[in-house]
Amino acid sequence: MISTFDLTKYYDTKPAVRDVDLYVSHGEICGLIGPNGAGKTTLLKMLAGLLRPTSGKIEVDRIEVGAEPKLLHEIVGYVPDTFGLYDELSVRQFLEYFARAHGVAASLIRKRIASVLELTNLTSKLEAAVGSLSRGMRQRLVIAKTLLHAPKVLLLDEPASGLDPLARIELRDLISELGRLGTTLVVSSHILTELEDFCTSVVIMEQGHVIRAGRIEELIETIRGGLHVRIETVDEAAAQRLSKELGGRADLKNISVNQLTLDCIFDGDRAALARLHRELVTTEEGVVSFYERRLTIEDVFMAVGSHKVS
């Protein structure tokens, strides 16, 4: 659905995105991860046809971005990270305006508005003034507005920023629902754990480059290198003592202590891990808990990135 080839964007002399090759297939929910200044917003704006690349090529549903911006805007919806709304209008008037501006047939407008409001859980706010909506509702209203012309691709730039926990949960559910409906989504976010809940693949960017891309399980597999174990102790001294004691073992590597917890990678099978568990419980080093830690996208990000901000 979305492909980029050697995509590069310079702002004057500063490279924001460099040589990005990307492929997002139909119906996928792709998370875009990276520190501030990694080039996520620039990449999304180029995909949305709002920013022209310096060089390279972008294809969205076989439309080459740049040559036919209007055709592209028919199939792409973009929700920016910061935006304003026409606060004086009611939700209905606001959506009517965008529906007509996007060429939705007059006979379909009411039906389309009802369906996007239902999807975004804003039906009860139809006649409310846009200015009276909360931050989360405004975010959902913009998504509703973006869905009016039924785009095949939806690009969301930091959609969860500034939302309270409840609004985040609602947004997550909405994104998952859109994915189920067959919309291809690219979502950028700083909150990595959230992305993991609904993304099928991720792209990790740093200093304008894509440093890793692929399905989440595959990426996790690339950094696994053994069983990741977390041990929690009664106090910091116990954690330090345990770290020294375990440091001599050949089957444990990458031991790191963080206050009461000790993380390490165990090189062995699960039966051997069970033996290690028994050993630690019988020692008197104050072990409180011992478990195999499930790797997340955050671990991938921490493992592959240099965490430099461009």
């Binding site: 080839f5 050697d6 590069t8 310079y10 702002y11 004057d12 002399t13 490279p15 949305a48 046809g49 709002l50 920013l51 022209r52 690349p53 310096t54 060089s55 390279g56 090529k57 972008i58 080459e64 971005v65 740049g66 040559a67 911006p69 209007k70 805007h73 028919e74 792409v76 919806g77 973009y78 920016p80 910061t82 935006f83 304003g84 709304l85 026409y86 004086e88 209008l89 008037q93 009517e96 305006y97 965008f98 007509r100 501006a101 996007h102 060429g103 007059a106 507005k145 012309h149």
Partner: protein, 519 residues
């Protein structure tokens, strides 16, 4: 609001209508306007009625006339100040509010968006004007205002208001493009445009409706045809308004990344030159029209060259290739984007050449217009030599200026090519001061300026400079004339070559830098 009649309306107009003129506001504006009009009418009538020496008919006429002038002033303020000021804010407000990004992506055509913005931005102003207009008509009738005068003022208000609004909208769209650097203090643009509208109204009103009765019979000439000044002013306002609107549509296209075709720019240059030449044309001037001598052909020619020079400078400043554009040019891609970018760059260069060509064609046409006497007059330098020298001097100067601006565009100046424009203007100002301080007025510093050069080599020429005398001994001798001609061309040629040299070295250096950075 009933949705049946709104369904086919331009959505941008409908949005503006809903935002700026909701029913309560309409009611408030209507009532307060009518009350204020009645109060003003009462005051004028009270004043007229207190003059017991006048008959009732005279008192009515006096009150009507006073009201007419007041309403005219109010209509001027509305249409020349308020409407363009609000138009100038329309795109900028979208940018500041954060809604412009949605307009960039919407499928409404740029033309319809511009129409929506145009009508939407003037809604309040036009609504109040529409409320006032019937009172204006009635007061003109009661005040016994000359009917022709009334029609002319009404036309002037309508056309001038629309023109100012169109210009305001263009300024707004130009300042709210993808580069946001102009937006600091963007809200000041509205009052500035409003202020300019007021000045424009004042100046154009003075030209169109002079106080001096004799001046009412003045004629301006357009390709030699005598026209009343207000007709020329109206035509110029229509011309400006239409092109400002076209410019707005193009700016919207730029913001939506829609590729632009170059021919509208060529057409703009060609039509502007045609209008300018028509106004400066003197082919049909007769000796008994004394006022013509206030502006001898050389003054008109210098004015023409000055405007063209400024236009070409602006064009060079806006189309010079920044490092970013050069990077696009040197990117090795053969995909559609690369081809499009290269086409845009080529178009920018061709547009400049076309504009220069139009400029020189206009110069030739204007020159021909100044040399229409059947009987040849004695000259120090042949016509064709003078024309070719002026054309060559202008071309050399413009070419040097363009490459210098391009040289500056390749530097890492914050304002890019505009630094080149500023430095060019500074250079010619400094040269002007140096030239003025030297005893010999035909010095190199003076002759570097193509305007001074044109004036120098045509000084004393019976066609260009001295209509009232054909005395050959009055002007410079041929030897001096030939010497100034060669001196100026050599100086300008050396300057242009210097600019080309600078730009060439920088071009190569930039290419190396960019290719190295890319790898």
């Amino acid at each position: 609001m009933d949705r049946n009649w709104t369904i086919k309306m331009n959505p941008e107009i409908l949005r503006s209508l809903r935002v700026t003129l909701p029913p309560r506001r309409v009611l408030f504006i209507t009532i307060s306007t009518i009350i204020l009009l009645h109060i003003a009418g009462g005051i004028f009538w009270n004043d007229a009625a207190s003059r017991k020496s006048l008959t009732v008919a005279e008192q009515l006429a006096r009150a009507g006339s006073g009201m007419y002038w007041l309403l005219m002033l109010v209509l001027f303020a509305l249409l020349f100040v308020l409407v363009p000021a609000t138009a100038a804010l329309s795109f900028i407000q979208e940018k500041i509010r954060g809604t412009s990004i949605f307009q960039q992506m919407m499928l409404l055509s740029p033309f319809n968006l511009a129409v929506g913005k145009f009508i939407g931005s003037g809604l309040i102003g036009y609504y109040v004007a529409a409320l006032i207009f019937p009172f204006f008509v009635v007061s003109a009738f009661i005040g016994e205002v000359n009917f022709e005068q009334f029609v002319r003022v009404s036309l002037f208000l309508l056309v001038g208001g629309l023109c100012s609004q169109s210009v305001g909208l263009f300024i707004s769209s130009a300042l709210s493009g993808p580069g946001e650097r102009f937006l600091r203090g963007g809200l000041l643009v509205g009052p500035v445009v409003g202020g300019l509208g007021a000045l424009l109204a004042f100046a154009l009103y003075g030209l169109s409706f002079p106080d001096n009765l004799a001046s009412n019979y003045d004629r301006w000439h357009f390709y030699g045809v005598g026209l009343r000044p207000y007709k020329v002013v109206l035509a110029l306002m229509i011309f400006t308004g239409v092109w400002a609107f076209v410019g707005t549509v193009r700016r919207i296209k730029v913001s939506q990344l829609i590729p632009l075709r170059p021919w509208p720019t060529w057409l703009f240059f060609a039509s502007s030159e045609a209008v300018l030449i028509g106004l400066l044309w003197a082919g049909f001037s007769r000796y008994n029209e004394g006022r013509l001598f206030l502006f001898p052909p050389i003054a008109r020619l210098v004015f023409y060259l000055l405007l063209n020079w400024a236009a070409l400078m602006i064009l060079a400043g806006s189309s010079a290739l920044s490092r970013g554009r050069l990077r696009e040019w040197w990117s090795a891609g053969c995909d559609q984007l690369a081809l499009l970018q290269r086409q845009e760059i080529r178009d920018a260069l061709i547009t400049f050449v076309v504009a220069l060509g139009i400029s020189l064609t206009g110069l030739t046409a204007l020159w021909a217009g100044f040399h229409t006497y059947i009987h040849p007059l004695p000259q120090h330098l042949p016509d064709i030599v003078q024309l070719l020298a002026i054309a060559a001097s202008f071309t050399l100067t413009v070419a040097g200026m363009v490459v210098f601006i391009q040289y500056c565009a390749m530097q890492r100046f914050r304002i890019g090519a505009w630094a080149g424009v500023a430095l060019t203007i500074t250079f010619y100002i400094v040269m002007g001061i140096v030239a003025a301080s030297l005893e010999n007025k035909k010095n190199t510093a003076a002759l570097l300026n193509p305007l001074v050069y044109a004036a120098t080599i045509t000084a004393g020429d019976p066609y260009m400079d001295r209509h009232d005398t054909f005395d050959e001994t009055d002007g410079p001798n041929p030897r001096e004339a030939w010497s100034a001609l060669a001196h100026g061309l050599i100086a300008q040629g050396v300057l242009a070559i210097g600019c080309f040299g600078l730009a060439y070295v920088k071009w190569r250096q930039t290419e190396e830098d960019i290719l190295r950075e890319s790898t």
